[in-house]
Symmetry: C2
Subunit: 490 residues, 2 copies
Amino acid sequence: MKLKIKRLSFTAGDPFIAVLNKKDAYHLDLYPGDRIKIKYKSKEIIAVVNLAFKNVNQGEIGIFEHIINFFNVTHGYVDVSLSEKLKSTNYIKKKLEGNILNAREINEIVKDIMSNNLSEIELTYFVSACYGNGLNNNEVIALTKAIVNNGNKLNLNKHPILDLHSIGGIPGNRITIIAVPIIAAAGFIIPKTSSRSITSPSGTSDTMEVIANVSFPVNDIKKIVNKTNGCMVWGGAVNLAAADDKLIRVRNPLGLDPEGMLLASIIAKKAAVNATHVLIEIPVGKNSKVENKQKAVRLKNKFIQLGKKFNIKIIIMFSDGNQPVGNGIGPGLEARDVLKVLQGTGPEDLREKGLKTAAMLLKLLNVKDAYTKATEILDSGLAYEKFREIVKAQKGDPNIKIEDIKIGPFSYDVKSKYNGTIAKIDNNIISRIARVAGAPNDKEAGIYLNYHINDYVKKNDILFTIYAKNQKKLRYSLNVLKLNNPIMIR
Amino acid sequence: MKLKIKRLSFTAGDPFIAVLNKKDAYHLDLYPGDRIKIKYKSKEIIAVVNLAFKNVNQGEIGIFEHIINFFNVTHGYVDVSLSEKLKSTNYIKKKLEGNILNAREINEIVKDIMSNNLSEIELTYFVSACYGNGLNNNEVIALTKAIVNNGNKLNLNKHPILDLHSIGGIPGNRITIIAVPIIAAAGFIIPKTSSRSITSPSGTSDTMEVIANVSFPVNDIKKIVNKTNGCMVWGGAVNLAAADDKLIRVRNPLGLDPEGMLLASIIAKKAAVNATHVLIEIPVGKNSKVENKQKAVRLKNKFIQLGKKFNIKIIIMFSDGNQPVGNGIGPGLEARDVLKVLQGTGPEDLREKGLKTAAMLLKLLNVKDAYTKATEILDSGLAYEKFREIVKAQKGDPNIKIEDIKIGPFSYDVKSKYNGTIAKIDNNIISRIARVAGAPNDKEAGIYLNYHINDYVKKNDILFTIYAKNQKKLRYSLNVLKLNNPIMIR
């Protein structure tokens, strides 16, 4: 059936969605959720059907930006036909019923996820199936392989290749930007790809972007690493092992993070850069993904086991997930913090954690006195020099100064109402205030936190300062503050 | 935040959806899937946030027919604020994790389903949780109670009250329209509410609607039953125990029908009319919901057990789910079949099954020689007389004649290519052909099936005739036929 393109533009959706007039759908015996094949010239995609009553007339097909971009067409006619039932939906059902899937079946599901062939509802069933019944070891291995094979790879032809990953968003936790220059300065290869923030005030990529570019094609990343031993780029730009990213939208509503998927997703991202030695940080704490030590140890063992299957040697770093790291929260403020640490000052906790991270990775490579070595590299300025090399290779200004990084200009000081000791800092509320103030999109927005847990404060001491780009956003953030208290003093 | 209404009209969606401009959402720190409270005058609903890039400007809120109708407003301003997290989403997560829910928790979920508070993704997680981990007996009882308590009820103040239900769509299976008049003519109360077709060529309500009205408010249904002992109306119009209906959209993509939900949904619908004696038909066969006798017997026992908790005496009728019942498939053709049976002719298999259904229900009430009694009522014309009474009460024409029921006018005879015995009839393909020909929306469309399994046919005998309202739909149905063979001859 030929249908005329009608351009719609209101949801950003991963699975391709096509909106048909009720009458056309009826003639084709199509129901919401059914699949159609849409052809334009030599290109073809599978889309999920939604129904329209008014906006899309008979003879028209409503399509969104995604499909518009894929076909690179904004008007004219496309050819629409019924699509066969996807095999992968049967496998999802099979898994939901408590059965075990084989590697071929898992690969089929991942292939369809990567091709945007599955609807939100089907993706949700897949997440449920992995969550409820769990995945056994072989399934996790198969899922990891499938994610690697259905995404891009970074082939550097080097050995060893180091990498690191932190689970879960502790605000201010920018250890990567400290550890990567140390490792690279020590002469090891570390092609680090990071994420952008989804629900936190800043991701490593958001912070790094204050100082340098982070979006590069695979070939440019290779050049950067070949030149400097390392990189700190945005993984999303290169689609490395990205299947997991497609599931975020359906996982968010219940905040589900099925363990098997978490394992597969992280190891796949490391296998996609051919990493051989990997540090994984597991923050443990009440507001973290991993609430207690017992769970953390179980996860540790699973990571190490899975890593072996991909010839990756893994070391786990447990850390305190109960409060932010460093003082700055938000891209600009965090960039200032890491720059200070690299220059020899900066927040002590961030410096210590960065050093520990680098040292553990070096130790994994049998470097002797790894902590002392890492400290020397940092204190001698070698790490800062390496950082400037990487920044230059990533088209940033290697001579950037702390005061070049803009903050504010609007700010508000939150003062202590009592004398006492800080008993608790709520990561979620801190994140929310920083986000509503504008982070991460406004690089200059965020929070500067003056104290950590166990610090003593007096009445009227400034607990933290909120920064925003304009008055309005500052006001929004104060509304959040009015309803939520992020810091408990005892 | 005050936002200006922008009327959107392109998806029919159960959970309320509001489309915000990306920038407004950003200021409110809202993500797709988050919930907002929308207030207009004294009315308030919870909606799920989608994001817009173009159609909805800053300061506007895009809302659909559903919300437009609820507020009864098409322009002006509504007040939008953040909604707290729903407790029910925590319970869904809890269930997904394999825990058992208590009655209060299950009631909270059902309440939110009925209030359209849950997003599609969340509904999907709930179905998964019930499917994957299953519901134990107490949970099924709690779910049944919750469904009854969160829907409308039909209080007739009579005893006993009879009812019947068939699981799963066997095409042409219109036993209700034969059994209800027999039961009512025998002096028993049977307030039968039926569904419309979702994916079959006709539901009992679609067929009955050819002859009489089927949509009545609860009070009118009471009057009809008080006058005639029975009714055959559309349950969807009165929202009796309707929680299950809200889940259909998320169950369809994988065709999931979690057993606990099936049990709860059916018994709740019976409890909502205060039924005391209920017959449940379980068709067993390869293309049915219940594939084998073993599963059927297990389900039978569960129905009987659950019925006891609601003081409902249940009898189960197993039937052959391998082929259509009667000859007509589609509203008009089925209406002709049942009218013929009531008038003393018609397809023998439909007559027999209708009689058996009525007899089993009468037997459950200790009526002696129930089958003979049912046959007498049918053959004497008493059932037909009762049917005409009900039709009249439901604003239909009691004097309607077979030839008054329009069929076609376009038709196509499908002939046998061989001499042989009919070995298999595929319910799904038959349904699809009838639907593409126009059923159930075109009452005059469908299939007239001349043979059943084990019948002998000669080459060029007419196996079945397809009827459609226009040439185009007939052609569509022939395309389906070209790709699929519904009848296997050996």
